[in-house]
């Protein structure tokens, strides 16, 4: 992990000097994580892919503004967060009820084999803010402080969102949790 961090720093330093290939290596390391974060947030594969490209392009253009290369992951996800919410706001005007993303197919019976679908559905039922909190915490493994920087909000707000989302998921996924025993 330490070596990886050092390598990322080197790649960032090279990319800052205009080495596109170094940046491409950096992209290859992070694109899957960014894409999946965006996919689970916006729900459409094409949108997630377009957004991912925008995110990495903006990151490249602004790489010189990144003061501490060690904070690259949080900085990158902050760009991804801004891009995703820009699209969500455009597609879903404020006040409108959160639409369930198409990729999250509704699941009737909650058998273990359908656990993945159930999780997708449960995530899709959360509000954008709550879903994003779970994505950053559970799937991306950020600390509350890092999330607060990514989302530009207090740590207390981050904790509140994560805890609320976890309570909702706990209730929704209870049958799955108990191995489909109903």
């Amino acid at each position: 992990m330490i070596f990886r961090e050092v390598e990322d720093r080197d790649l960032i330093a090279k990319a800052r000097r205009g080495h596109v290939e170094a940046y491409n290596v950096l992209v290859s390391r992070w694109e899957k994580r960014v894409y999946n974060y965006l996919l689970r947030l916006v729900g459409e594969r094409e949108d997630a892919l377009d957004l991912s490209q925008d995110v990495f392009l903006k990151a490249y253009q602004n790489l010189k503004k990144l003061e501490d290369p060690a904070k690259f992951p949080g900085w990158l996800f902050r760009i991804a967060h801004n891009e995703a919410f820009s699209l969500l706001r455009k597609n879903r005007p404020e006040g409108e009820i959160t639409a369930e993303p198409k990729m999250a197919e509704a699941s009737g019976g909650l058998f273990p084999i359908e656990s993945t679908l159930a999780v997708r559905s449960a995530l899709a039922r959360l509000s954008d803010d709550h879903r994003e909190a779970v994505l950053l915490k559970v799937y991306q493994g950020f600390k509350f402080e890092e999330m607060a920087e990514i989302l530009s909000c207090p740590v207390s707000t981050v904790k509140s969102r994560v805890y609320t989302a976890l309570d909702l998921l706990k209730q929704t996924l209870a049958p799955v949790n108990s191995g489909g025993r109903q």
């Binding site: 205009g18 596109v20 992209v27 892919l49 995530l123 559970v138 600390k143 706990k170």
Partner: protein, 183 residues
């Protein structure tokens, strides 16, 4: 659950150190917290069942002139290249200086004789010029010495006059003083 323990933070890996040990101690002895922690862990396990998808198309950027630094920016930002460039410029300057020096005329046959005569003439001219300069300097030196000597003599005469006047005055004062004493 009535306990004040932050089980969610614990389940999410946000609790460490002594706080973690205290919480684990509490959970071992608290049925409610144990059940709540189990539910949270099961929820996390369910969430973990959702695996990451492969990205449909790899993202990569081609070298674009818009984003590439210009040649002078590349040189300017690179210390070693800048040092090498400086060394090259310095070497070039030395070479140019070497080639730009006045060319010595060819030294063969009658040309050589001519050039020797010219050289002798030039040396003689320089000698004459130097002799004239020396003579001029000598004249100026003599004139200056004479002027200073005249000034010195004039100052000396003035000083002698002043001295004589001073002695006369002193003699008068002495005479006057003696007369006054006698009276």
């Amino acid at each position: 659950m009535s306990c004040a323990t932050d089980l969610k933070a614990y389940a999410l890996g946000e609790v460490g150190g002594r706080e973690k040990a205290v919480l684990e101690d509490h959970v071992r002895g608290c049925q409610n917290c144990r059940e709540e922690l189990d539910r949270l862990n099961l929820t996390r396990a369910a969430l973990a069942s959702l695996e990451d998808e492969e990205i449909p198309r790899r993202i990569s950027f081609v070298s674009d002139r818009v984003f590439e630094p210009r040649w002078w920016q590349t040189i300017w930002r690179s210390g070693p290249v800048m040092g090498f460039a400086s060394a090259v410029v310095l070497a070039a300057a030395i070479l140019v200086h070497g080639f730009a020096r006045p060319v010595v005329p060819p030294t063969n046959g009658s040309d050589a004789a001519l050039s020797e005569q010219a050289l002798v003439k030039q040396v003689n001219e320089l000698r004459a010029e130097r002799a004239a300069d020396l003579a001029k300097f000598d004249q100026q030196l003599k004139a200056t010495t004479a002027r200073l000597e005249a000034q010195r003599q004039a100052d000396l005469a003035t000083f002698q006059q002043a001295s004589e006047y001073y002695q006369k005055q002193m003699a008068r004062i002495e005479v006057a003083s003696n007369e006054a004493y006698r009276q």
